[in-house]
């Protein structure tokens, strides 16, 4: 056991180049679990009654092993890890057992737990923006973590924290150690968090959604750092996430949670390739995949997770389960290996799945609406709905309180050109800070000044008067990311839907007829028009937002990250709805998203943005099958696939560093300082990248990239 705490002990014996394997090696005494949780229950008092957030969680992790815990929001996955650390509020009632190296942790006093937290158990949290104390420098916070548990002088602790920052890949750690958290980028903060978590060579690292708030390329970097941290410390990792892709490549074993309970557990291969619990099957079927070649409707899981206050009798999933039988509504199944299965599930019918029941067929696959006449027409023959030509949005950077001097320019959008045809979805993708949102806002603003033109339905926005603009706004609508923030909580949804109609002068009778029609259109009950937004679930609220956008029968709908705030099982339903509405109503979408799998699913064409420019644009097929700009390639290769075997075989193109500031755009090609291809070029070629800003060059009929050395590469 002591071996595993030795930082110099290579844990390579437990892993191979392909990734982590279930432990069979006997050279280390690794058969003993380092952390063992059994029958953990957590309940909180609330005004509505007792919230039973965790209802019997058991797991064990061995040194060097990675256990993934997957579940949607409210499934109790984070609460259970907080309970392990003893960080829940006092009002929480925790029962069961948590053993660290055989020592019971539940019931220990705060003082005793303090000696374990940060020493034997390291913790990495989700949002690195808020997880570091803003008023202390990063170095101070790591030094603090070291000095709590180790007898180090200030100088020694500082030296060690510089080493740790270097280990997690912070460039120039000697200088950076004195920076404050706000001077770090999101990815760097998460690296600093990891440095803090491994500062005292923990035996277990609990990572709670460690990459959820990060962009995919940064996510890939951070996962790499986490793996390295594990190599160095030999720790076991408990990885909590909602992202099935992240788990597939990272974990050895996985546990799926639903309504406070694990419903399926096993090795990643078992769970991903032969799921035997309808919830897991549904979850895997509802995620759009980057490697989907065919267009298919996603299979959403109908309904919503149950309230944890008044759990129904029987299986909590029964109400949403397509194969529920009477017994499921009476008796809650326990987690055990059912006859004919390889791994434990909590389902009464697991033994039938894979035997008499086909797991792939239990969910009714929604029909893909047949492509309308419009969609079947070749692209060239369709009318152009929106056209951007060299659209530019620069913000001046000023200094001085009274007299403002211009000291620089933020090139948020730096000359982009694209077009959207009738009945088409254009996916606009890129990392945060690349200018996606500014582009959207510019389009919706119908600009008069600035460089470049916006042409909507054939009309140049610069030559329009007020009346024209108002008419045009009717034809262009937007759906925002966060449906709760976008809907006024004080208005019944009927009024929310009627508002745009009133603004555009519809009379009362027409509005009264239109509102129920809209609710029906998005799959909601028209009788609910007098309810308030907070009475609906996240997915339903997003449907209301969509209904509001469609109220005036627009031709173009701008969707700003419409599903990124939703759980995967809900997301599928909304995506299917958007797809269906597009065909039925002949809409065009401008779909902005950072999730490339979602974009692949919904978009006909894709534009990839980097630092205010479009670096590659083309039809979805070309972009995914033959990405030609090095940035697109890196972006695609960073997206994890929910497929453990393929994940193990994939090599990622890791980008170095963060997105440069748009106030300080590199000369020549703006991607060159992070470009993996640039490094492989000879001097003359590099000079060209440095000096010459690459123009967009046509590669195929509908595919162009802005790279001097564009060359297709298969990365998925």
């Amino acid at each position: 056991m002591t071996d595993s705490t030795n930082p110099s002990q290579p844990s390579d014996s437990t892993r191979t180049k392909e990734g982590l394997r279930p432990v069979t090696d006997t050279r280390l005494d690794i058969s003993q679990p380092v952390l063992e949780v059994s029958d953990l229950h957590v309940a909180f008092p609330s005004e509505a009654g007792q919230v039973r957030a965790v209802r019997g969680v058991s797991y064990a992790v061995r040194p060097g092993e990675v256990l993934g815990i997957v579940g949607e929001s409210g499934s109790g996955k984070s609460v259970s890890s907080m309970a392990v650390l003893g960080l829940l509020p006092e009002s929480a009632a925790v029962t069961g057992s948590v053993k660290l190296n055989g020592r019971e942790l539940l019931g220990l006093s705060d003082n005793e737990m303090s000696k374990i937290r940060g020493k034997d158990i390291g913790m990495v949290f989700q949002d690195p923006l808020s997880a570091l104390t803003p008023v202390y420098s990063v170095g101070t916070q790591i030094v603090e973590a070291l000095q709590i548990h180790q007898d180090l002088t200030k100088v020694q602790a500082r030296e060690r924290s510089i080493e740790l920052l270097d280990l997690v890949g912070i460039p120039d750690p000697k200088r950076r150690v004195d920076n404050f958290p706000h001077e770090f980028s999101g990815g760097m903060r998460q690296r600093a968090m990891i440095a803090m978590a491994i500062a005292n060579d923990p035996k277990v690292i609990i990572a709670d959604e460690p990459t959820t708030a990060l962009d995919v390329t940064i996510q890939a970097q951070v996962l790499e750092v986490l793996k390295k941290a594990q190599d160095v410390t030999g720790a076991a990792i408990v990885m909590i996430t909602h992202d099935l892709g992240v788990i597939a490549g990272f974990a050895d074993r996985v546990q799926v949670m639903y309504a406070g309970k694990p419903v399926e557990a096993g090795s990643v291969d078992e769970v991903y390739y032969s799921p035997r619990m309808p919830y897991t099957i549904g979850l895997l079927g509802s995620i759009p995949r980057l490697d989907d070649t065919e267009r298919r409707a996603l299979t959403p899981i109908e309904g919503n997770p149950p309230s944890m206050v008044e759990l129904p009798k029987g299986c909590p999933f029964a109400a949403r389960c397509p194969i529920a039988i009477d017994r499921c509504r009476e008796v809650e199944p326990t987690l055990s290996v059912k006859e004919g299965n390889t791994h434990p599930t909590a389902c009464h019918r697991s033994h039938e799945l894979g035997d008499t029941l086909d797991p792939a067929a239990i969910y009714p696959v929604p029909e893909v609406p047949e492509a309308s006449d419009l969609e079947q027409r070749p692209r060239g023959e369709r009318a152009t709905v929106l056209e951007l030509d060299n659209l530019t949005k620069h913000f001046p950077l000023t200094k001085g309180a009274v007299v403002k001097r211009k000291v620089g320019v933020v090139r948020a959008v730096d000359g982009i050109s694209l077009d959207i045809r009738e009945g088409e979805t254009l996916g606009l993708v890129g990392e945060s800070g690349c200018g996606k949102t500014t582009t959207l806002l510019e389009i919706l603003d119908l600009p008069k000044g600035q460089v470049g033109t916006v042409t909507v339905f054939g009309k140049d926005t610069r030559s329009m008067n007020r009346a024209d603009r108002k008419t045009l706004r009717r034809d262009m609508q937007i759906v925002f990311q966060d449906p709760m923030a976008a809907l006024d909580a004080r208005m019944p949804i009927g009024d929310i839907l009627a508002e745009p109609l009133k603004t555009h002068g519809w009379d009362k009778e027409r509005i009264a007829a239109r509102v129920p029609e809209l609710l029906e259109l998005v799959g909601l009950n028209p009788d609910h028009a007098d309810r308030y937004p907070q009475e609906f679930s996240g997915g339903q609220r997003q449907r209301i937002s969509i209904a509001r956008a469609l109220a005036l029968e627009p031709k173009l709908v701008v969707l700003d990250e419409p599903v990124s705030a939703l759980d995967v099982s809900i997301q599928a339903g909304v995506l299917n709805l958007l797809d269906e509405l597009k065909t039925r109503l002949g809409l065009s979408y401008l779909f902005v998203a950072h999730d490339l799998s979602v974009v692949r699913h919904i978009a006909d064409r894709i534009a990839v943005m980097y630092l205010g420019r479009i670096v590659e644009v083309g039809d979805t097929q070309s972009i995914f099958d033959a990405p030609s700009h090095p940035y697109t390639q890196a972006l695609l290769s960073a997206v994890p696939l929910p497929d453990p075997r393929r994940e193990r075989e994939r090599t990622r193109i890791l980008l170095t560093g963060d997105l440069p500031s748009p106030a300080n755009v590199p000369s020549g090609c703006r991607f060159r300082n992070r470009c993996p291809k640039y490094l492989s070029l000879d001097e003359a070629e590099q000079l060209r990248c440095r000096d010459e800003d690459p123009a967009s060059a046509k590669l195929a009929d509908d595919h162009s990239a802005a790279c001097h050395f564009a060359k297709a590469l298969e990365v998925i």
Binding site: N111, S114, G118, Q126, P134, H182, M193
Partner: protein
């Protein structure tokens, strides 16, 4: 940072000059010092009144601009003019600043520390008995006018300790006035007890409300959880990471309130017979004393300037995010 402060100081100095000049004009035009001498029996001769007023530069027959120039010239040379009694305003203000400082220094210190501590503790024990009691008590005190609170404390001391047990009128008993020996200090402390308590109670009531709400915001924060996940004990984490961050938004409020209290403790000073700056503000107006009113305004403006710079400095010292590089 240095350049930023210098610029700020220069800007604020201009504002102080403007504020002081404007208040001189307002006082000079709206106060009627001559009415102090009119309607007496036997009536004073017009020329006598004019002479008296001319001596103190308050004659309404002299154009306001001329009076202002005379006053401003004096101020520029460190002379605030004469009170309506003919004594120098400088002496009056100097004495009163001393009185206010003696009354307020300790009380504001105890009040701020107590308010922050009580508020933070209330947040940590949200909805528990301690929190409910302190919240109720704070609102009770805040809802009570100061002179009622002062009167209440006086009555309570008489009721429970007996009349004369605590001497609370003035700064000292007459026989100790001007003395600073051990016995006199004891007497001074006794005299400070009730007015000090009044000020402390009000300040604790006010600051604890702000501190409680900012602390509540911080309690659920991720960084506090991180601090505990590192292995800090609950209490250490709450103070070192929680309170340290939660105090930031309260700092400007504390600084402004504390500094401006030096002219704002009017009711407490009046109720307990301390002749401080707060009392001067009211007295100078009721006595139509233009120069004293202008002096108090100037003093207030200077306090605002000091408070502004002090709060900027404190904030920059406490929060690295606002430091100018």
């Amino acid at each position: 940072m240095g350049r930023y402060l210098l610029r700020k100081l220069a800007n604020n100095l201009i504002l102080v000059l403007l504020a002081a000049s404007l208040s001189y004009f307002v006082a000079g035009l709206s106060l009627h010092p001559q009415s102090n001498y009119e309607g007496r029996n036997p009536p004073l001769a017009k020329s006598t009144i004019a002479k008296t007023l001319d001596d103190v530069n308050m004659n309404p027959d002299t154009p306001i601009v001329t009076r202002f120039i005379t006053w401003a010239d004096g101020v520029a040379h460190g002379d605030l003019g004469k009170t309506i009694d003919g004594s120098p305003v400088n002496d009056e203000v100097g004495r009163r600043i001393g009185v206010s400082t003696r009354l307020l220094l300790l009380a504001t210190l105890v009040g701020s520390v107590g308010g922050v501590a009580l508020g933070a503790l209330g947040a940590i024990k949200q909805y528990k008995l301690f929190d409910r009691v302190t919240t109720l008590a704070s609102f009770f005190i805040l809802a009570m006018p100061t002179f009622v609170l002062a009167l209440f404390l006086k009555l309570a001391s008489i009721q429970f300790l007996g009349a004369g047990t605590i001497h609370f009128t003035g700064e000292t008993d007459p026989e100790f006035a001007g003395h600073w020996d051990f016995a006199a200090l004891g007497n001074r402390a006794e005299h400070m007890l009730l007015p000090g308590l009044t000020l402390v109670l009000i300040q604790v009531g006010l600051y604890s409300r702000y501190q409680r709400s900012t602390m509540l915001d911080v309690l659920g924060s991720d960084f506090l959880r991180t601090a505990r996940a590192k292995g800090l004990r609950r209490r250490t984490a709450l103070v070192k990471h929680g309170l340290r961050t939660a105090i930031l938004p309260v700092v400007p409020l504390l600084v402004y309130n504390i500094v401006l209290l030096f002219v704002g403790a009017t009711f407490t000073e009046k109720a307990f017979g301390w002749h401080g700056m707060g009392e001067l503000l009211v007295n100078s107006i009721t006595r139509n004393d233009v120069n004293a009113t202008a002096a108090v305004s100037l003093f207030t403006a200077v306090l605002v300037l000091i408070a502004g710079i002090l709060s900027d400095l404190m904030y920059a010292a406490l929060d690295p995010r606002v430091r100018v590089r």
